[in-house]
């Protein structure tokens, strides 16, 4: 057998851990899947976390690694969600599968995820080519506009409303969805959500840890110098935007699995809930721009905060004034963001990526640093 290098070992270790965790999740699902809060609370939460993680990580590619402010990310998610919902509905009406069962349904499910990503990526290409000629505030305005326009387009497409496809009419809500899992199916297909999330996050991670990642971080740090180093800046910018849109579309497909009814208002910029382009930006900033680990963690943290202030039983025991603040979740997110920015200006993780194989070494180095700083302080005190 060929001897593996350090990096090779790292990848092997990661693969083994992921497979183990995945199997564990399967076993837990099999054991507790049928009843109680596992089925009613935990599994739906995991579904939501899954698409939020993909969404945050994909926005981080554009925001953290490429350094371009995009405020229309939920627009791509909407494209993905509607694509998956309508494609699966078409398959259901063509009687390819029944009652969300069988091998054909699983195939349809993954085909829908892929199609959602591809269509979203195509729209990303269309938007990205003209939009990425602009920078900073101007790009933010364009993408913000895109987010709003796409909602209006979907609202006015006759096959995207009411009962969908040929039975549809232009409306803000789509009531039929070939995927749209109930709580039972959510438990049954939890593995699919986890699998899609793992694969998506891994692919994004591989992207930033290759020549592509180097090129786009170079563009972020200094576009003129990047061009002068032979990097085709417009190509890499558009490519990253498209790649990011692809995964936003995949997240959208998971969203349409988790929700039986799709409503354009849930992707709108004015939406006060968790799905809001600015909210995704908050996740990325919170986790650390330039850290996939950070985005994934921040997505879970923000979901947890959002869930707790809306559903937590401890909220009732708080003073009325605090409860009043909780009526406006956006205020709470703002406070969380301010606190994080005060103590860790570069986000929770900065540009650090979690790695099992490096963990021991890093811990050791951190302890040594701390000890050294302590010794230095002590010396300074004894001298002064």
């Amino acid at each position: 057998m060929k001897k593996l290098g350090r990096t090779g070992q790292g990848y092997l270790l990661n693969t083994i851990i992921i497979v183990l965790l995945f199997t564990a999740a399967q076993l837990v699902t099999a054991a507790f899947g049928g009843e109680g809060s596992f089925k009613l609370v935990l599994v739906p939460s995991i579904w939501q976390c899954c698409y939020l993680m993909i969404l945050a990580a994909s926005l981080n590619l554009v925001l953290g690694f490429l350094g371009q402010l995009s405020l229309g990310h939920c627009g791509f998610m909407a494209v993905g969600a509607y694509t998956a919902a309508l494609l699966s509905l078409a398959c259901e009406r063509a009687e390819l599968f029944k009652d969300k069962e069988g091998v054909v349904f699983i195939l349809v499910l993954f085909a829908c995820v892929l199609a959602a990503g591809i269509l979203s990526a195509l729209i990303g290409l269309l938007v990205g080519i003209p939009a990425l000629r602009l920078k900073g505030d101007y790009l933010a305005i364009i993408t913000l506009g895109f987010g709003m326009i796409i909602i209006n387009i979907i609202n006015n497409l006759p096959f995207c409303g009411q009962d969908g496809l040929a039975q549809g009419s232009a409306a803000a809500s789509l009531y039929k969805n070939g995927l749209g899992f109930g709580t039972k199916s959510k438990v049954e297909f939890l593995w699919a959500a986890l699998l899609v999330t793992i694969v998506s996050v891994t692919l994004m991670f591989m992207f930033v840890r290759s020549k592509y990642g180097r090129a786009i971080r170079a563009i972020r740090d200094d576009e003129i110098a990047a061009a002068a180093s032979g990097i085709n800046t417009s190509y890499y910018k558009v490519l990253t935007f498209v790649y990011s849109a692809f995964f936003a579309g995949v997240a959208g497909a998971l969203y349409s699995c988790a929700n039986a009814t799709l409503s354009t208002s849930s992707f709108a910029f004015t939406n006060g809930g968790i799905l809001n382009s600015t909210f995704i930006v908050v996740m990325v900033v919170l986790g650390g721009m330039g850290s996939i680990t950070g985005s994934v963690t921040a997505a879970v943290i923000m979901f947890f905060i959002n869930y707790q202030i809306k559903n937590g039983s401890w909220v009732d025991s708080l003073p009325a004034a605090v409860q009043a603040v909780f009526q406006y979740p956006m205020l709470v997110y703002a406070i969380v963001l301010i606190v994080v920015i005060m103590f860790r200006p570069r986000g929770i993780f900065g540009s650090y990526e979690f790695s099992l194989i490096n963990l021991k070494r890093e811990l050791k180095a951190a302890l040594e640093r701390r000890a050294a700083a302590k010794a230095e302080r002590k010396e300074a005190r004894s001298n002064g």
């Binding site: 992207f207 020549k211 180097r214 971080r217 170079a218 003129i224 110098a225 002068a228 032979g230």
Partner: protein
């Protein structure tokens, strides 16, 4: 008589911003392995010439010919692909990347694996990355930065940041290297080290170098030929001794 193709040739190169002719009728020929100095008082248009030679500005007149190949209408990255590399007057590094990543980023155009290889970590990916690391370390070694490969570029001291810029320029595999005031803000020791670095590069890669510099002793020491511009016009060109004795140059620098 067969003449060697110059690494760089410009013919009647010029650019106007509105009514202002920033550079006018700029002609230069640099042969491989030559080190030519470009000097002139502040605001003479030296950096504008560099921006024309790297495609940052599109010339309003004339052409840039690199190794016999005209580069009209090309973008900056295509200039680099054709073989022009540069450093900047005010250092422009990729500040939040490590030293070795700065160099590796400049290899991007020559890396031939695609998204598939990167996504699935194929053998080709690992081999290419390994090769890049080796090549990058070699370049860092030439510029005396090998020991700092894994620190952030922004944490390097000033003199070494300049050298890293040169290492990054070398990574593009160029035929012509443009150095914009490489010794600015350096102390005499750092300048001496830099000179050594530049000489190593010339010997090792046989590239043509065009240098902008204000430090006259440095220019007179190392340049084989010097071209002087003022108000966008070439006022003199020739050997260092000739330039030093040229009354027009002295007038331009000291005033009449």
């Amino acid at each position: 008589m067969a003449e060697k193709t110059p690494a760089l040739e410009t013919r009647k190169l010029g650019i106007s911003f509105g009514g202002l002719k920033a550079v006018n009728d700029f002609n230069i020929k640099i042969y491989p392995g030559e080190l030519v100095g470009l000097i002139g008082p502040n605001g003479a248009g030296k950096t504008t010439v560099f921006n024309l030679l790297t495609g940052v500005y599109a010339p309003t007149e004339g052409t840039v010919i690199l190794d016999g190949q005209p580069l009209n209408g090309k973008k900056t990255y295509q200039f680099v692909a054709a073989g022009v590399a540069r450093t900047f007057q005010n250092i422009r590094l990729f500040r939040n990347m490590t030293v070795i990543e700065n160099v590796k980023a400049a290899f991007t155009k020559d890396v031939d694996y695609n998204l598939f290889h990167a996504s699935f970590r194929t053998k080709k990916f690992w081999e290419t990355e390994k090769k890049l690391t080796d090549k990058a370390m070699e370049l860092l070694d030439i510029c005396g930065l090998a020991d700092k490969a894994d620190v952030l570029a922004s944490s390097l001291p000033y003199g070494r940041q300049r050298k890293l810029e040169i290492a990054r320029a070398l990574a593009t595999d160029m035929k012509l290297l443009l150095l914009d005031e490489p010794a600015a803000g350096m102390n005499p020791t750092e300048t001496a080290e830099l000179l050594e670095c530049i000489n190593t590069i010339r010997k090792r890669f046989g590239v043509a170098i065009l240098l902008i510099e204000h430090d006259m002793s440095l220019v007179m020491n190392i340049c084989q030929r010097i071209q002087v511009i003022d108000y966008g016009q070439t006022i003199a060109s020739g050997l260092p001794e000739e330039i030093a004795a040229n009354p027009r140059v002295i007038a331009a620098y000291l005033g009449e």
